[in-house]
Structure formats: structure tokens, C-alpha cells
Amino acid sequence: MRSLNLLMLTGLFVVLGLGNIIVTANRSLIPQTIDAEVALLDIKREKHPGIDDVHFVTLSTGETLHVDKAIAEELQVGMPIRKQAWEKELVTGDEHLSLEYSKDFLGMTWVMPLSFLVALAVLIWPRLWLIATRTKKI
């Protein structure tokens, strides 16, 4: 039972870690396909104004996207925007806006795999402990 529990918890850890990476990647718009006009731009404040503000872009299709600050600052209401999935360029009328992954996403690509390694260490903690203590005795 204990092994099954630990395996299920490790699986859950992986799912949550992937969720973090996917959500932060989506905020860069890079994975998304877009062909619409900007209908509304909105900033909502969080706990730390200026640091963790939430930038929303509502499209003419009715879809509302949570985007990185760097992207929201380049957009204007009424601006047509277009891109294919995984393209790193957003066509805004006649101009092309380069898209980059945010510091949050880049951080997550390190933090999640390394945290997973810690979870794996916890998974085999009793064995690690035995090895460590036996080595110490020798």
C-alpha cells in the first residue's frame, strides 16, 4: 500500500509540475494560435502591485487571455493580432512583435524538474538514509 501511495503521489507531483510549466508558457502566447482583434485590455492588481499584476487581453472572439506584462504593454484596443501555434512572432497589423518566454516560465523549467528530483529522493528516502548511515559507519 505504501509503495502504491508513494507512486500515486509522485504521479500527482509530475502532473502539477507540468501544469505550472504549461500555464506559464501559455501566458507568453507562444503555444497559442490567434486570429482576432484586441477588444479589451485590463490590468488587475494582486498582492504586490507592479510585480504580480495580472494582464488580461479580451479578443473579438470573446476569449479572454492572461498574458505576460511585456506582451500586454505592446497591444492596443482595436489592434488585429495573428499568429500560428508555436510561432515566436505576433503579427499586429503591419508590425511584427517578437514573443519571448517570461522569466516565470524559464524559472519553472528549472524549478519543476529539480523539485521532482527532490520528490524522487523523498520516494527512496529510507534507502538513501540506510546508505548514508552505513557509509558513515564505515
Partner: protein, 177 residues
């Protein structure tokens, strides 16, 4: 030996993950705050539950409750994130981070339960060396009449609750400061 084993198990893994968060996402202390708060809150709740259950017939069910309890804590996190902590929106990243903390806490609680319930008495016998049939015997047999709440078990639960409070406090400070 057992003291050192449990002390390192309770303290070290969350601290290492906190260090990783701060190293790579140091510009967002709220991320590490949510992770640590999730760890602390889940650890407090789980240790409180174990403390209540040890020495009672419910003790034998604890292994079966680890994953459901973890999911319940994650659901609790969804509710708090969607209600009292909802400022701009339901932040998925905050939710994922606090849930990661909850999962790590329950992995550690699982090891604690293994040590507690399988009763591997010798200092050199840690859980993975324990006979797996012991677990089945624990589940099928009636609790022995001399199955008393040991002072050591309760002490470790109390210690776990204190560790949880400390991590929850640090997490709260990081998330809101």
C-alpha cells in the same frame, strides 16, 4: 538513529525545494510562499489526524487515507484560492505550487506512517527493510490489547505540527510580504 531519520525527513526536503524556488524564481517570492504554505498546512492537518488516530482502531486505516487526504487538502487549496485569497483571478500557478507542497508533505507523512505502523523496532531496520506481510497483518488482525499510544509517536506528531506551523508561517510571510 530514528530521531535523526525523522528530523531530516521532516525538515530537509521542503527546505531544499524552497531553495530551488528562491534560486530560479527569486523575483516571485509568492510562488515559494504558496509552495511552503501548502506544505505547512497539509503537514499540520495530517499530523493532527495521525495524532488523533494512533492507538485507536482507525490507526490501521491510515495507509489507505494518505492519497484521499492529499486530494482533500488540494481541494481545500482550490476553495481558499477561489474565495478568500482570490484577488485578481484564480491563479493557477499559485494553486499548482501550494498543491506541490501538499503532495510533498503527504509523501513525507507516508514514510512517517510506515515507520509508525509497521513498528520496525530495531534501529537498523528502516521501512524498506520491513516485511511487507507485517502491513497485511496489521490490517487483518485485531489491535493488540497493549496497543497504547506511545509517548514517542505523540511527541513526533506534536513535533510535526510545530514544523508545519513554522513552514506555514514562513510561507505566509513570503506570499504576502
Amino acid at each position: 538513529m530514528r530521531e535523526q531519520y525523522l528530523t531530516t525527513l521532516f525538515w530537509i526536503p521542503p527546505l531544499v525545494v524552497l531553495g530551488i524556488f528562491e534560486l530560479f524564481l527569486g523575483h516571485r517570492h509568492d510562488y515559494s510562499g504558496h509552495y511552503l504554505a501548502g506544505y505547512g498546512a497539509t503537514f499540520i492537518a495530517a499530523m493532527l489526524g495521525v495524532r488523533i488516530a494512533i492507538g485507536t482502531p482507525a490507526e490501521r486505516l491510515l495507509h489507505y487515507l494518505v492519497v484521499p487526504f492529499c486530494l482533500a487538502c488540494i481541494c481545500g487549496g482550490i476553495i481558499t484560492e477561489a474565495t478568500i485569497f482570490r484577488l485578481a483571478k484564480f491563479d493557477e500557478v499559485d494553486f499548482f505550487n501550494q498543491s506541490l507542497g501538499a503532495v510533498l508533505a503527504m509523501m513525507i507523512v507516508q514514510h512517517f506512517l510506515t515507520l509508525l505502523l509497521d513498528k520496525t523496532g530495531s534501529e537498523n531496520e528502516l521501512p524498506d527493510n520491513a516485511d511487507s506481510t507485517l502491513e497485511k497483518q496489521n490490517l487483518t488482525s485485531k489491535p493488540p490489547k497493549d496497543c497504547k499510544v506511545t509517548n514517542a509517536s505523540v511527541r513526533w506528531c506534536d513535533g510535526g505540527i510545530i514544523i508545519g506551523v513554522i513552514y506555514l508561517g514562513i510561507g505566509g510571510v513570503l506570499a504576502f510580504a
